[in-house]
């Protein structure tokens, strides 16, 4: 368990009073999560990394400029991811079909069996954007269903429906890898 000497809510309060360094600390705490969330819902390809980084910067700029609108500082995470969600979907709407690339490009350290990692990435890629986002928020970001509903601005039942449908697809996609004994 990570002990934080200063809670996010304190940093938000200080930021509201004009302490820029407090916001920089908040950014350093959340930037990796926001970047990876954006990268994964954009498609987790090399070509998406610059987009994910640009969007991350936009997300933190918008959050800074609107920090006084955050009613409950303890809900900073879902509020921040809601901004990230909106930014990502703005990009989806602007993207042209020819910008979409196929195939997976991976440069990760090989901490896990390559076949399993590639299969998992490929399976994620086959999901619809809504299903993939539900998986990313739950599996990778660890949000509760209520928080996911806040980020996605939809009922918990819709969140569960998207996640569980995605899970069924992923189970089928990953079954051959599992049966070969990799999982």
């Amino acid at each position: 368990m990570i002990f934080r000497a200063v809670e996010d809510a304190d940093l938000i309060e200080r930021t509201r009073k004009g302490d820029v360094e407090s916001y920089n600390l908040l950014v350093s705490r959340w930037e990796k999560r926001v970047y990876n969330y954006l990268l994964r819902i954009l498609g987790n390809r090399l070509a998406c990394r610059e987009d994910a980084l640009d969007l991350s910067q936009d997300v933190f700029l918008k959050a800074y400029q609107n920090i006084r609108k955050l009613e409950d500082p303890s809900r900073f995470g879902p509020w921040l991811f809601r901004i990230a969600h909106n930014e990502a979907y703005s990009l989806f709407r602007k993207r042209k079909p020819e910008d979409e690339l196929t195939g997976i490009e991976q440069t990760h350290e090989q901490a896990y069996p390559v076949e399993l990692r590639l299969a998992a990435s490929a399976a994620l890629d086959k999901l619809s954007p809504e299903q993939r986002e539900a998986v990313v928020l739950k599996i990778y970001q660890g949000f509760k269903f209520e928080e996911m509903a806040q980020v996605l601005d939809c009922p918990v039942s819709t969140v569960k429906s998207r996640l569980y449908t995605a899970l069924e697809i992923l189970k089928i996609q990953l079954a051959p890898v599992r049966t070969r004994g990799v999982g």
Partner: protein, 197 residues
């Protein structure tokens, strides 16, 4: 199709209350099919977890640059509109000013006498006096109402003018905000990764 008393996926994602969790655990001990299904969900989750997080190509630290901070005017404006207490104070202050103005404002004296003919008439006939007083009061009331109408129209016009000024200011702030974001993204694309980060 699972025969578990509650959704196995809810169990896996820890979305069940304690009592329901226990019921699922007791069920999967007895039911081989549900135990297998729960295992498949677990393994799928584990497989997804093998896709690692990536480090950022470069850190996000633009806020220390004053260029990207909202201007003092924008900050004050935002804080003012976001603060219920300030809005309430402003309303109270406006109300107080209105009460003071109303208390000390002296409407122009209305001439109700026109000299001797009225005095003569008063001496002659009380009914005529009453009629003259009524006419004078009506005239004074009309004059006052007319002045208030003019004032009201002036206030409405001033409000409309100020609303337009505020809308223009908001548009300007919005435009500047968009420009700063475009400049930031463009400069990041131009500069590329910063050495040492």
């Amino acid at each position: 199709m699972s025969c578990a008393p509650f959704d196995l996926r809810d169990y896996y994602f820890e979305a069940l209350p304690e009592e329901q969790r226990r019921a699922v655990e007791e069920h999967v001990v007895r039911c081989e099919e549900c135990a297998g299904e729960l295992e498949r969900v677990r393994v799928t989750g584990m497989a997804l977890a093998t896709v690692p997080e990536e480090e950022l190509p470069r850190r996000i630290g633009f806020v220390s640059d004053k260029v990207f901070e909202p201007s003092p005017v924008a900050r004050w404006w935002q804080a003012f509109w976001m603060s219920g207490a300030r809005m309430a104070s402003a309303s109270v202050a406006l109300l107080a000013v209105a009460i003071l103005v109303h208390a000390f404002y002296q409407p122009r004296r209305v001439e109700v006498t026109t000299g001797t003919p009225l005095v003569v008439a008063a001496a002659a006939d009380p009914a005529a006096i009453q009629a003259a007083v009524d006419r004078a009061v009506a005239k004074a009331v009309n004059a006052t109402e007319a002045r208030y109408d003019v004032k009201l129209q002036q206030i409405v016009a001033e409000n409309a003018r100020q609303k337009m000024v505020i809308e223009r200011a908001a548009e300007t702030i919005d435009t500047m905000d968009r420009r700063s974001r475009v400049m930031m993204v463009a400069s990041n694309r131009e500069s590329g990764p910063v050495p040492g980060q």
